[in-house]
Amino acid sequence: MLTNILTKEDTHKQLFTMGHTGCSGCAQSMAVKLIMQVLGKNTIATSATGCLEVFSTKFPESSWNIPWIHSLFENSAAIASGIEAALQITGKKEGTTVLSQAGDGGTADIGLQALSGMFERGHDVLYVCYDNGAYMNTGYQRSGLTPYDSYTTTSPSGKISFGNNRPKKYMPEIAMAHKIPYTAVASAGYPIDLQKKVKKTLSIKGPKYLQVDVPCVPGWKYEPRYSVKIAQLAVQSGLYPLFEAEYGKITSVKKISKKVPVEEYLKLQGRFKHLFKNEAGKAEIEKIQKIADENIEQFGLL
C-alpha cells in the first residue's frame, strides 16, 4: 500500500486526484493524497470550510473520487457523526471508513466543540487535522495552533511585537484527554510514517485523531521546494514531535535522527524573519529553542 513514484496516469487514478487548485508546494494536498492512498475507495469524507475544500471542489470540478461532503466551518466532526450513525443503522458501516477533515482553525478553534462531542460519543470516525498553523484560506490569520512568535496577519510582528505571543495549543493532548482509542501526530515531511499511522487507524474501531503538520508556502513564506525540508526540520528540531497514543497513553514516538537547532527551521520561513533582525530577536529564538528542548524532554525524542 505504501506509495512509490507515480506516473501521470497513476495520478489521475488517485482517489484524491491532480488538477486541483492548491498552491505549488502545498503540503496539505500531499498529505491528503497520501492518506487517501491508504484509506482506499470505501471511504466517505467530510471537509470543513478551508483551503482543502476550496481548492479541491471548484464546481463543477472535484478532486475526490470518493463520496465527499462539505457543510460548514465548525461541523466537520458532527457531519461525520451523522454519516457514521446513518451507516450504522443501515448496516453499511462495516468496511466503510468515515474520514472527517479540517484545518487547525476548523479543529482546535471553531470546530473544537463538535470534535469533542464526536470523541466523547465514540463514533467510529478518523478525524484528520491538517495543521498549517493559521487561517491560511482567509489570508494567514492567527489560530490557536499558530506557533509562538509566528507572524500572521492578525498577530503581526511590529515595533513592539514579535508576532504571536502565545504558545501553540496542545491539541493532540486535548484529543488524548478524551481517552479515545488512537491519537497520532504525523508530518507531510515523513510520508511513510504518516501512511503507517493511517493504516493503523483502519484496524481500530472508535474515534481516531490524526494531526498532520503541513507547511504552507504562502502562509509560512518560503520557496515551494522547501515544503518537505521544512516539515522535516520541524520534527528534527523537536518543535513538532511525532508520536502515537492509545487511550490517552503515549505508545510510540518518532526519535530525532539528527537534532538541529530551531534556527535552522526558523530561518527558512518569512513568518519568522523578524526574529533575525536584532539581539532581542535572538533572545526570542532562544525561547523557541526552549520550547523544542522541552518537547524533546517530555516526549523522549532523542
Binding site: F59, P67, L72, G82, A86, Q113, A114
Partner: protein, 394 residues
C-alpha cells in the same frame, strides 16, 4: 385510536410512525419532552433509529445533515436560542436540498431570556429556504409531521420542513388526539425515502462544493423555485392524508366562518382556537366575522390569501413576532400580496401580541376587534401592554 396526549407525545408518536433512521437533538425547553419520548422509544426498541445525543444544536442539525446526505430519513427538534444556533446549518441543509424534518417548539428569543411562547424564533428562519408549517392544535401537530416528510421527500421539493408548534401552549398541553394505529397505512402514504444523490461509496459524488459567482445565483434560483413551486405538493399532501386517514386541517390556508364576513382575523398557530371561540360568540350576536388560518408560512400562499380576503373590509392580523425596526411581519406580507393583485379595498391592521408567553385571552381578541375596526394600516402596533410597567423606572 383516540388518546389523551400531551402535544409532545403526539409529535413523538407521529415521528415514530414515520420511522426516521437518525434522530439528533440537544435539550431546550419547551422542546425537551418531544425528544425525551423519542429517546425512550429508541431505548425500548419501539423505534429502530440511531439517537445521537449531541453537545449542541449546531451539531444536532449537522448530524441530521450528514445522515440525510446518506439518504436516510432524519429528525431533529429545537426552539428559540437553539434554533438560532442551528440557523447556519439550516440554511446549509436547505441549500444542499436535504429533506430533514424538524419541529420548532416556538419560544421567545432572548433578551430578556424567556422560555415562553411566541414565534420570533421560527420567523428568524423564514428566508432560509425551509418550508414552514404551523400547527393549530395537537391533532394537527400529529398529522402535520407525517405530511411534512411527504412534502420534504417529494423529488420535486427536496427541502427541509419545519413544523412550528407553540411551546407549552401545545407541547405541554393534553388534548384528545386521534392517532394512526396501522403503520402500514403510514408506509403506504409515506414510501421509503429514495434520494437520487447520496453519499455512497459505489457511486461517489461531491456535496457542498464551492459555488463561484458563475454558478451561485443559479443555484439559489433553483432553490427559490423549489420552495415557490411546492405549494401544490403541500395541498396534495393534505388531500392525500385526508383520503387515507380522514383528517384535514387545511393545506396552505384554512378558512373559518368567512362566508359573507366583512371582518376577518388572520393568525397562525394555537391562538386560532381562542380566536374561533370569540368569533363563534360574535357570530351568535350577528356580527359578520370570520377567521383566516395561515398553515404554510413558507412558501407564503399569497394568491390563496388574496383570494380569501379580497372581498372583506377589515383584516386584523395577530403577530406573534415583530420585525424590529419595521413592524408587523405577517401583516406586511399580506398587504404586499394584496398590492400585487392591486386590491386596495382591504384594510389590513397588524398587532403584535402575546410575546414571551403573554396570554392572549378571549377578552384581548374582543377588545382588539373593537379597536381595529376603527383603525387603518396599523403596522405591527404592540397591543395589550401594561402601561404601569412601561412608565416604571427600573
Amino acid at each position: 385510536m383516540k388518546k389523551v396526549l400531551e402535544g409532545s407525545m403526539a409529535i413523538s408518536d407521529s415521528i415514530r410512525m414515520t420511522e426516521p433512521k437518525v434522530i439528533s437533538a440537544y435539550p431546550i425547553t419547551p422542546q425537551t419532552h418531544i425528544v425525551e419520548h423519542l429517546s425512550q422509544m429508541v431505548a425500548d426498541g419501539d423505534l429502530k433509529a440511531e439517537y445521537v445525543m449531541v453537545e449542541s444544536e449546531h451539531s444536532a442539525a449537522s448530524v441530521v445533515l450528514g445522515a440525510s446526505a446518506c439518504g436516510v430519513r432524519t429528525y431533529t427538534a429545537t426552539a428559540a436560542q437553539g434554533l438560532l444556533y442551528m440557523e447556519e446549518v439550516i440554511y446549509n441543509i436547505a441549500g444542499m436540498r436535504l429533506p430533514v424534518v424538524l419541529t420548532v417548539a416556538n419560544r421567545a428569543v432572548s433578551a430578556p431570556i424567556s422560555i415562553w411562547n411566541d414565534m420570533q424564533d421560527s420567523m428568524a428562519l423564514r428566508d432560509s429556504g425551509t418550508i414552514q408549517l404551523v400547527a393549530e392544535n395537537n391533532q394537527e401537530a400529529y398529522d402535520m409531521h407525517i405530511q411534512a416528510y411527504k412534502i420534504a421527500e417529494n423529488p420535486n421539493v427536496m427541502l427541509p420542513v419545519m413544523v412550528c408548534v407553540d411551546g407549552f401552549v401545545l407541547t405541554h398541553t393534553f388534548e384528545v388526539v386521534e392517532t394512526i394505529d396501522d403503520i402500514e397505512k403510514v408506509r403506504e402514504y409515506l414510501p421509503p425515502l429514495n434520494m437520487k444523490y447520496t453519499l455512497d461509496v459505489n457511486n461517489p459524488f461531491s456535496f457542498g462544493t464551492v459555488g463561484e459567482p458563475s454558478v451561485y445565483i443559479e443555484t439559489r434560483f433553483r432553490l427559490s423555485n423549489a420552495i415557490n413551486n411546492c405549494k401544490s405538493i403541500i395541498v396534495d399532501a393534505a388531500n392525500d392524508y385526508k383520503e387515507m386517514f380522514g383528517k384535514y386541517e387545511g393545506a396552505l390556508i384554512d378558512t373559518y366562518k368567512m362566508d359573507d364576513a366583512d371582518t376577518v382575523i388572520v393568525a397562525m398557530g394555537s391562538v386560532l382556537g381562542t380566536i374561533k371561540d370569540v368569533v363563534d360568540g360574535l357570530r351568535e350576536s350577528g356580527k359578520k366575522i370570520g377567521v383566516l388560518k395561515i398553515r404554510s408560512f413558507r412558501p407564503f400562499p399569497a394568491d390563496e390569501i388574496v383570494d380569501a380576503l379580497k372581498n372583506i373590509k377589515n383584516a386584523i392580523v395577530i403577530e406573534k413576532a415583530v420585525s424590529l425596526g419595521k413592524g408587523g411581519i405577517l401583516s406586511c406580507e399580506i398587504r404586499d400580496a394584496l398590492y400585487q393583485h392591486r386590491i386596495n379595498s382591504v384594510n389590513v391592521n397588524g398587532y403584535v401580541m402575546g410575546l414571551g408567553g403573554r396570554d392572549i385571552t378571549p377578552k384581548n381578541i374582543y377588545d382588539l376587534i373593537i379597536k381595529a375596526e376603527k383603525e387603518e394600516d396599523v403596522d405591527g402596533e404592540f397591543f395589550g401592554l401594561n402601561n404601569e410597567l412601561l412608565n416604571k423606572v427600573f
